[in-house]
Amino acid sequence: MSEDTIVNIVKVGDTSRAACDTCKKFVGVTYRLRDVSLSDGAGTVRDVIAGVCDQCDSVCVLPHQSVPAVAETMSKTRKPVEGRVPAHMIDILRMASGEVGGGSDFVPQLVKYYIHKMAQEDISTAQVERLLQTELASGKAQKRISLKGRSVFDDVELVKSRMRLKTTSDILKGVILKINVDILQKKNKKSIKALEDIAAACR
């Protein structure tokens, strides 16, 4: 939450008015402690102050002060994307990250950028599948990659649904090989410029 924004605080027992989705009308609500579910079924925000319908006891409204509790639950329930790749692929990522002005800590952003581009179909998944047939794709998968973020899990699932590849590790390998071609081999100006801007903003 921004430091500039004031937050009006409500207390347990305070009353207000809100639309009740169960009663299908505007009702009086009383702020109480409730467990409120996330719509994707991934978790529940426990013991949070919420406006409860005085008529049917449904939770109708969440005051803005409860947003940090929601964010904390969301961050715990978002699954990281994890996979194992050969050690030379980590070197590719570090070199590519350096090429666009980022350090080793920019590597996750670099991979997430490419996965997102694949999910958006800006990068051909067929091309990535072809790269996985090359010699550079081989090697014992000894290094672990873990990516966290709001959309990376959904992006990987979307890419999986479009490709014949079914494991996250294969998708990560394909993405890294594509990064190798674009950034280190062909030095694709458009991709490098886009990543340079992101890397600069992340510094």
């Binding site: 937050v7 809100a18 639309a19 009308k25 505007f26 579910s37 991934a42 449904s58 409204v61 929601v70």
Partner: protein, 99 residues
Amino acid sequence: MGFRDAKRQLIECLSDGRIDHELERSEIDVKNLLVTGYVSADEVAEVIRRCRGNEYACSPHHFDETIDVHIVKTTHGGTSWYIKWYYLDPNVMFISVHE
């Protein structure tokens, strides 16, 4: 209420922290970027500040037609935004803040 008044009222509420989030089916919409904390009230205010009248629509609330529900569909920072709210004195009640 017209677009300019709705916009001014919303920005005031965001600035003062007079913000509530309507829950459909008593659940927190994980795609709502404001209630999940992915964007701040200031960021939403900035999107609203820059939007234009042709990106705005208004319709009555389906539980109470005297309440105007305001909708903005706009592009900001290369992202498409869909923001839906109404004013329930003294707070703004957000229904959607989606990309």
